[in-house]
């Protein structure tokens, strides 16, 4: 549904996003996880067409956002980091305005409006001025704005930031309720948030993707090593031999000769792997641990929920 291909963004000579690629399938909830300043917002802005990428492409439903932004934008709902609200407007008038802005057909506007108000729990405040609402409610208005046109793809930038734990649980519940209908990309710097809502995760640090996996793979990360292997002479036979080695949790074959492997930490797998590779005569060029970067990322992430109410 969403294909991000080698996306990069530089401001001046500072590279903020570098060579980011991932795909999101229909109905998936993708967690876009990374510490503050990792480049999450920048990436999402490129997907939504708010800023042009320096290189690479972002496609939604096969359409390149720089080629046909209006077509992409009519398929997405986007909640940016600071909810895009007009403080002086009444909630309902604001949502009506958004319905028009997103080209929801006039006949469907009323139903769409009621659905968004109900899903985001805004019934009691729909006639109040947005600027007078609490931060949590403003965030909900932002979420209502994003889901209102019933977009095929929902892009949420840190939808729970700045909320208290109760509000966080509520917003997460609302997002979970959407799953199945919509494809969701959600950014966060809080690890447990991803495990609570998402089906898959992409981890980004300093503008680069350091890992992408299913939720189970990431949470099991503590008991494994990630290594990158590069050989001069690749063959299918070699791939078979690596697999047969035992203790390999996962193997991804990238460009020819490059393998991303996830190894058991127990059982000296790395030692056996290097031995086998040298002895196979495939011409081992590189065997480097990727564990370091991932651990660095996790150290910078908020790994525990804020329990203080």
């Amino acid at each position: 549904m969403v294909n991000v291909d080698k996306l990069s963004k530089a401001y001046g000579n500072r590279v903020c996003v570098w060579d980011v690629s991932f795909d999101v399938a229909r109905g998936e909830i993708l967690g876009f996880l990374g510490p503050n300043g990792a480049g999450k917002t920048t990436t999402m802005r490129m997907i939504t067409g708010f800023i042009p990428p320096s290189a690479g492409t972002a496609r939604v439903a096969g359409v390149d956002v720089t080629k046909d932004p209006l077509s992409v934008q009519s398929r997405i709902g986007y909640l940016c980091e600071a909810p895009p609200i007009y403080r002086e407007m009444v909630v309902k008038s604001y949502l009506k305005f958004v319905a028009g802005l997103k080209r929801v057909p006039r006949a469907k506007q009323k139903v769409a409006l009621e659905r968004a108000i109900e899903l985001c729990g805004l019934e009691h405040v729909q006639n109040r001025v947005i600027g007078n609402l609490s931060k949590g409610y403003r965030q909900r208005v932002g979420l209502a704005q994003a889901i209102l046109p019933e977009p095929e793809v929902l892009i949420l930038d840190e939808p729970t930031s700045g909320l208290d734990p109760l509000q966080i649980m509520e917003i997460r519940q609302r997002i979970r309720e959407l799953s199945g209908e919509q494809t969701v990309i959600l950014s966060t710097h809080i690890l447990p948030e991803v495990t609570a809502i998402c089906t898959r995760v992409v981890i980004i640090n300093e503008g680069q993707i350091v890992a992408q996996d299913s939720i189970d793979g990431i949470t099991a990360g503590g008991a494994s090593d990630n290594v990158k292997v590069k050989v001069a002479r690749d063959s299918d036979d070699l791939a078979q031999r690596i697999k047969a080695l035992g203790g390999i949790q996962r193997m991804v074959r990238g460009e020819p000769g490059v393998y991303q492997l996830k190894l058991d930490r127990e059982g000296e797998v790395r030692e056996r792997l290097s031995g086998m590779l040298v002895e196979s005569g495939a011409g081992l060029i590189e065997l480097s641990p990727e564990r370091e970067t991932l651990e660095d990322v996790f150290r910078n992430l908020v790994t525990e929920e804020d329990t203080a109410a």
């Binding site: 802005r45 939504t48 067409g49 708010f50 800023i51 042009p52 209006l70 077509s71 934008q73 009519s74 997405i76 986007y78 940016c80 980091e81 600071a82 909810p83 895009p84 609200i85 007009y86 403080r87 002086e88 407007m89 008038s93 305005f97 958004v98 028009g100 802005l101 997103k102 080209r103 001025v129 704005q145």
Partner: protein
């Protein structure tokens, strides 16, 4: 078109739930009202020979005199309306909503421009009661007044287009306000340079004089040059505005 009108509606809505529009309109009416009563007072102090010599009835006298005040009031009031139109979107982060929605930048700018034009039209409508009072003393010659008002409207629209452009240049409303005047005043004052150049330069200065154009219209003459000048300037500044928003500065 419905996308444009949707933006226009929101623009007008925001004006009237905040004190800006009211303040600006009241300020405008005060200045115009002051000018009106001033001119009526001056006319009543003229003696009959002066009136006969100048071939003036109360309508031409008052309207001519008042035009200066209306133009002055427009120049003071309108930049205060236009200054927030785009700068505030950027400051509040709502620009991100607008620019990730399926609308083009041209639609965005036109929608906003129409919103400010609606307020301008309302402001001018509210001055009509003054004119109706002329009806007690003399024939107001409504067609001529219509031309004068068309002139005011075009003049106001040019100011708003300049103001919108200024507003696209900065996140700060006050800076936008202060940038509007230096772009507006040369067009207003270029008349002072008339006769200082020769040949084509003089013609250019004369052609660009917004004040000349506006004052001609206020005499009840619909002049094609005035209309072309106003529409040209409007187009130019709205076009520049779209270019600024589309450029990287805005993102």
């Amino acid at each position: 078109m419905s996308s444009i009108l949707n933006l226009t509606r929101r623009e007008i809505y925001s004006y009237f739930v905040s004190p800006i529009a009211y303040t600006v309109i009241i300020m405008f009416l005060l200045i115009v009202g002051l000018g009106f009563f001033f001119s009526v007072f001056l006319y009543s102090s003229l003696n009959d020979t002066a009136i006969a010599e100048g071939n003036q009835n109360i309508r031409t006298y008052v309207i001519q005199f008042m035009s200066f005040w209306v133009n002055l009031a427009l120049m003071l009031a309108l930049p205060a309306l236009s200054m927030r139109v785009l700068s505030e979107e950027r400051k509040n982060g709502t620009a991100e909503l607008l620019m990730t929605s399926p609308i083009t930048t041209t639609q965005l700018v036109l929608g906003k421009f129409l919103g400010t034009l609606a307020i301008l039209a309302l402001m001018l409508l509210l001055t009509l009661p003054l004119l109706i009072t002329i009806d007690f003393w003399a024939d107001p010659e409504w067609p001529a007044l219509g031309a004068a008002y068309l002139g005011y409207f075009l003049f106001g629209a040019v100011i708003l287009a300049i103001g919108l452009f200024a507003s696209s240049l900065t996140e700060n409303q006050i800076v936008a306000l202060l940038m509007t005047y230096p772009m507006l005043l040369p067009l207003w004052l270029s008349e002072l340079l008339l006769g200082r150049f020769s040949g084509w330069a003089n013609q250019v200065v004369g052609a660009l004089s917004l004040r000349n154009a506006s004052l001609t219209m206020s005499l009840g003459v619909i002049e094609s040059h005035a209309i072309v000048l106003a529409c040209g300037l409007m187009f130019l500044f709205l076009f520049l505005c779209v270019q600024v928003i589309d450029s990287a500065r805005w993102r």
